[in-house]
């Protein structure tokens, strides 16, 4: 799941307008951002990458329940320094939301403890086994998040003066189109 995470972040922006959108967008995929160098280093791996929903992902540190919680807490603490405690808590929660959404789609490959310590059962409801259903869930997240963001952006811009209203509508449309395009690329395995 990629586009769905961005959709969720856009929706959060409409409810927490004081938190910068770029930070919400970064937070929502932060586990994957941390995953990328570990993948290159061979510490975390992907089996059968390429096609949508086919991958079994061995992200035993970044996508373990406890690992994700620790990464989220650290992100929130760092974000709280410039933007305050409330924004830090929101951003930390958005980081952890990535794990919750991944839990729905992953194929039982998400450990509880970092490094799969203790060999506890791995988690994942496996919606990726039905790609059309997983894509539908992402589509709902993208459309809902974009519409919520678009509406709130237009409202705050309208309240500040009509000159900025056009910019808000263009950005709202951009969030929707970018979300759909990202989902299409992911679904096509690109």
């Amino acid at each position: 799941m990629i586009a769905g995470h961005f959709g969720l972040a856009a929706g959060v922006k409409s409810r927490q307008p004081e938190v910068p959108l770029w930070a919400l967008m970064l937070a929502t995929v932060w586990l994957d951002v941390v995953f990328a160098p570990l993948l290159v280093a061979g510490i975390e791996t992907i089996e059968t990458p390429g096609s949508y929903g086919a991958a079994v992902i061995h992200a035993d540190y970044t996508h373990s329940l406890v690992g994700a919680a620790l990464i989220a807490a650290l992100f929130g603490l760092v974000a709280a320094r410039p933007w305050g405690r409330r924004a830090g808590m929101v951003l930390g929660a958005v980081v952890f939301s990535h794990w919750l959404l991944d839990l729905v789609v992953h194929r039982g490959d998400m450990p509880i403890l970092p490094g799969n310590a203790g060999g506890l059962p791995k988690l994942g409801f496996g919606l990726w086994r039905v790609p059309a259903a997983a894509i539908a869930v992402e589509l709902v997240l993208v459309i809902t998040g974009a519409v919520l963001y678009w509406r709130e952006a237009a409202q705050v811009s309208h309240d500040a003066g009509d000159r900025r209203a056009g910019r808000a509508h263009r950005l709202g449309a951009a969030v929707l189109i970018a979300g759909l395009a990202t989902l299409a690329l992911d679904a096509l395995g690109i």
Binding site: L21, A160, T182
Partner: protein, 31 residues
């Protein structure tokens, strides 16, 4: 590739353009 496209578009392009909208300040809550 979808991940990196999404990351650049949402975080760098849309995220930065969004800062030009009159959102409330993170600390004070004022616009």
């Amino acid at each position: 590739m979808a991940f990196f496209v999404g990351l650049v578009v949402f975080v760098v392009i849309i995220g930065v353009l969004d800062t030009r909208l009159p959102w409330p300040d993170p600390r004070s809550g004022r616009r």
